[in-house]
């Protein structure tokens, strides 16, 4: 049937995504930037049907996010955002389901749900606000805090090693894994758009400064005079160049990344490792995920890896359709009377 009606598309603005709730984060918190970038990019990502957006969160500073978005929202309980969102998405695959979460919520109490949502490739868009501290409980170390960190619960320094969220997501076969920084709005906007376009489980880790309990955690990556030497911006198909004067590059020596100087004539851009977001082998993304384990190597931001496979919600839907096609739509009367029955007359 031909659709004679003109589809009137309303162009949204950032304001359409702003709820009537007062934002209650601490002044100076990196969360403000994330909220602003989401509201700015959403008109581009969401062309129509704002009512199909659902924001789900767990517990923590980050998890207040849904209250500030004028979309459907669900503020869950600690750690459960990804699985509540899975329920929403499976119940109605037409919805665009987003998750706002933090390092404690997603990686500590919610770690199990996170890895399984990655594994199942549930079509969720997850923004991880990683500030490497527990903010809402006022300053205890988190699963992404560096070893030795002194906090209220670790007065002599923490003794445990942190999780690397990018590595964990890659290891759990997430189909889209990226990172950005609260202080780089343009880059974050670009990454949020990429997340919005991805079909499948997408993780965007955002380095986010908690100016109250962990101020300056990402200082080297955000301050004007240090950031260029410590951040590697990943771009698909381009050699990995960084440094204040774009004079350094990453070269792969076997499976070992090394920094080379491309200003003295010994190495050129042609010698550098060229980033391939769509590489079949997760090993390249995994090397990048662990780049900054070493202090002499920069922290990558950008898309580490993207690939595609059937999503969990699509697979459930497809299986239902297939069975209906094969068996016909369920007939309750037949099921109830289907077993070995007998008549009493």
């Amino acid at each position: 049937m031909e659709n004679s009606q003109e589809v009137v598309t309303k162009k949204y603005t950032a304001k359409d995504f702003t709820s009537d709730q007062d934002v209650r984060w601490c002044p100076g918190c990196g969360d403000y930037s994330i909220l602003a970038q989401v509201q700015r990019t959403f008109p581009d990502i969401i062309q129509t049907n704002k009512e199909k957006i659902v924001w789900v969160s767990g517990i923590g500073c980050s998890s207040r996010f849904p209250y500030y978005m004028n979309t459907y929202g669900f503020h869950g309980i600690h750690g459960r955002a990804a699985i509540i969102a899975t329920g929403v998405k499976v119940a109605n695959p037409d919805l665009s389901v987003w998750v706002a979460t933090g390092d404690g919520d997603l990686l500590s109490i919610g770690g199990n749900h996170f890895i399984h949502a990655c594994r199942k490739n549930v079509d969720l868009k997850v923004l991880l606000f990683n500030n490497r501290i527990y903010g809402l409980t006022k300053g205890q170390y988190s699963p992404t805090s560096e070893k030795g960190k002194v906090t209220k619960t670790t007065p002599f320094g923490s003794v445990d090693y942190p999780f690397n969220p990018i590595s964990l997501a890659l290891g759990s076969d997430a189909t889209f894994v990226a990172r950005s920084i609260d202080r780089n709005p343009k880059h974050m906007q670009e990454m949020i758009k990429r997340v919005g376009q991805h079909k499948g489980f997408a993780l965007l880790e955002i380095f986010q400064n908690c100016n109250i309990f962990n101020d300056g955690a990402f200082e080297l990556l955000t301050e004007k005079d240090t950031k260029d030497d410590h951040v590697l911006v990943l771009e698909h198909g381009k050699p990995m160049v960084f440094g204040k004067n774009q004079d350094k590059g990453i070269k792969l020596d076997g499976a070992h990344p090394i920094v080379v100087d491309i200003s003295n004539g010994k190495y050129s851009k042609d010698d550098l490792w060229v980033h391939d977001e769509f590489s079949d082998a997760p090993i390249h993304a995994m090397i990048l995920a662990h780049l900054d384990d070493r202090p002499d190597l920069p922290s990558p931001v950008g898309v580490f890896r993207q690939y595609f496979k059937e999503t969990y919600d699509d697979a459930i839907k497809a299986q239902i359709n297939k069975i209906i096609e094969k068996k016909g739509k369920g007939d309750l009367e037949k099921v109830l009377f289907g077993a070995n029955t007998w008549e009493v007359s």
Binding site: Q21, I77, T86, N112, N340, W342
Partner: protein
């Protein structure tokens, strides 16, 4: 063998049989086949599968014994029977474990081939009980079941191990002969079950027929038994277990509500079967998510409820403990979900395959904050069907979590069920909110239920969550008076369900010396105890609660009309505790926590002691 003697037929009104053998001997299969055939020919029946938590404990050991008890009759059968009249023991361990429970003078049929030195030792028999006076008070029949099965299957292309596995069908065939049941039902089942393995069809069928023929030919048995069909109400019947009835109830609720069914669940004994059954009904649009853990089971269901599905999660006691925080979230967000707790022996891992009623207070109170939820309980396997629909109806109508309590005995036990037609079951359809005019997420209707506005509906974008919300508007709100109001509103909403549930029914006079009050799976045992007490001349009444929160409106009035209230429970008095605190009346308790249904005679003894010299005698 000489000429076959004519066997005597004795007519019985009821019989209790227990099959027992190694976990790998197929006793559950034998028992369920015997049950299905028995139901099919029109007897009323009630079953109690009783198996160890270990899948295949070492052969011949006592702890590896698996049993299946059923009671069947030509009159109402309400329990699987206190003490079996007949024991079929496939090895010495099965005899050792079960003999003390067999009625004195009862029939004991043993697989005499299995009584070798090794097995006798494993079963802690110093001497062979078939040869000493251990079984002197019983009607012992020694049948070399293993070798007779092997003889019957001679020439078939099977390994000795495969031949040995057919011996349960020989035993079943013999029992069919003894109780005059047809082979057809089981023959058909074998054909279907092994349709891709014709050699197994032939072997198992031959073993079954050989067992039957052995009964006919041998002189070991001189008497056969007849149990006439029960006088059940007219209709089409099937045999059904509690777990299957629960699954069918939710499937029906999905059809009758017009909502897709979403089940988020993590496998746990004895609840896993509900997930297994429902995962078969994809052509009804049923979505089953086997979650990564118990918490994921319920929280995915909460997400699905938010998105507009009929959402449920199924578990047992340890799983319910893990879900409690999330139930609080469903209370706070006022979303409809159903939580099924198939109770088992606790605490902790407890007795995974045994039954218990000790999660009642957990279901009632196990949450932080004031978090009242509706709690209902099924009382027989077939009642699980109706209570699953009822749980769904209440959840959808009142926008609340509902906990449905069943237990291991109901879940695995089975009974005949007069199957209802779809059009006999009331409609429970719901209307989502679609009108944006004066829409507020917590503006309540007359039932105090808030509107269900699902994502995808234009103009109704709103946020809900675990934080306290402002009355009507639903924004985050920490105001003391608002919290006080919301706590009371949420609780009042659950209380008002009382106007929407049936009164507590009394079996017997509505006043007198004694009322026996129960809930859940003790229904059958209590009923039989009351019937027996009446037969002995006592006067007493019975009432059984299917609604625990809220309890039916007339409950207090019913209780006040009796001098004594007796509450038998498979816990230490949880309903007794609720009744005392709610109605401020003294109650007598009877509590046994053995992982098994209460015995009729134990309840009867308590009744006798309470009615002293006999009130009606």
């Amino acid at each position: 063998m000489s000429e076959v003697k004519e066997k005597d037929f004795r007519v019985l009104t009821s019989v209790t049989v227990r099959f027992a053998g190694d976990s790998g001997d197929g006793m559950q299969l034998t028992g369920s086949q015997f049950s299905d055939t028995t139901a099919w020919i029109g007897n009323d029946l009630n079953t109690l599968p009783d198996y160890p938590a270990e899948i295949r404990a070492p052969a011949g050991t006592i702890y590896g014994v698996s049993g299946f008890q059923l009671s069947f009759g030509s009159e109402d059968v309400n329990t699987p029977g206190d003490l079996p009249d007949v024991l079929v023991a496939m090895n010495p361990a099965a005899l050792r474990k079960n003999l003390k429970e067999i009625k004195h003078g009862g029939v004991v049929i043993v697989n005499s081939d299995a009584f070798d030195q090794k097995n006798l030792k494993l079963a802690n028999f110093d001497t062979n009980p078939l040869e000493d006076d251990t079984l002197s008070g019983y009607d012992l029949h020694q049948v070399p079941i293993s070798s007779l099965t092997a003889n019957a299957l001679e020439g078939l292309p099977l390994s000795p191990k495969e031949v040995a596995r057919c011996k349960n069908f020989f035993a079943l065939g013999l029992m069919y002969w003894l109780y005059d049941r047809p082979l057809k039902n089981t023959e058909d089942w074998i054909k279907d079950k092994f349709k891709n393995k014709p050699e197994y069809v032939e072997a198992n069928t031959k073993a079954l027929q050989a067992g039957h023929k052995f009964g006919e030919m041998t002189e070991v048995f001189t008497t056969r038994y007849k149990v006439e069909a029960a006088k059940l109400p007219k209709g089409i019947y099937r045999n059904i277990s509690g777990n299957e009835a629960t699954a069918l109830g939710f499937l029906t609720a999905s059809v009758k509500s017009g909502l897709p069914l979403f089940l988020g669940s993590y496998p746990i004994t004895p609840a896993s079967e509900i997930l297994q059954y429902l995962s078969n009904y994809k052509n009804f649009g049923v979505k089953t998510v086997q979650a990564e853990d118990e918490i994921a089971g319920i929280t995915s269901a909460i997400g699905a409820a938010f998105a507009g599905n009929l959402a449920l999660t199924t578990t047992s006691g340890p799983g319910l403990s893990l879900k409690l925080e999330a139930i609080g979230l469903a209370v706070m967000t006022e979303l409809p979900i159903v939580i099924v707790d198939v109770q088992r022996g606790g605490p902790s891992t407890g007795l995974p395959t045994k039954t218990e009623q000790a999660d009642l207070l957990q279901a009632m109170y196990g949450r932080n904050g004031e978090a009242s939820v509706c709690v209902i309980a099924a009382r027989t396997p077939r009642d699980c069907f109706y209570m699953a629909i009822e749980a769904s109806r209440i959840a959808l109508k009142y926008m609340t979590p509902v906990i449905l309590l069943t237990d291991g005995y109901l879940a695995n036990g089975s009974e005949p069920w007069r199957v209802p037609h779809v059009n006999e079951i009331p409609d429970i359809s719901v209307k989502f909110r679609t009108d944006a005019e004066r829409f507020y997420p917590f503006l309540r209707n007359d039932n105090l239920a808030r509107p269900w506005a699902i994502p995808g509906t234009p103009g109704l974008e709103h946020r809900i969550g675990g934080l306290e919300k402002a009355d009507v508007y639903g924004t985050v709100n920490y105001d003391p008076d608002n919290h006080d109001k919301m706590v009371k509103l949420r609780t009042e909403k659950i209380k008002r369900i009382v106007n929407d549930i049936p009164d507590l029914e009394i079996d017997g006079d509505d006043h007198g010396d004694l009322l026996v009050l129960g809930w859940g799976s003790t229904y059958g045992s209590i009923k039989d105890a009351v019937i027996k007490a009446r037969k002995s001349g006592l006067k007493l009444s019975q009432a059984h609660l299917r609604y625990l929160n809220p309890m039916p409106k007339n409950t207090g009035q019913v209780l006040k009309n009796f001098k004594k209230i007796l509450i038998p429970e498979i816990n230490l008095g949880q309903l007794a505790h609720l009744i005392r605190s709610e109605y401020l009346i003294p109650v007598e308790q009877f509590n046994m926590v053995r992982g098994l249904p209460l015995k009729v005679n134990d309840i009867l003894e308590k009744i006798n002691s309470l009615l002293g010299g006999g009130n009606g005698k």
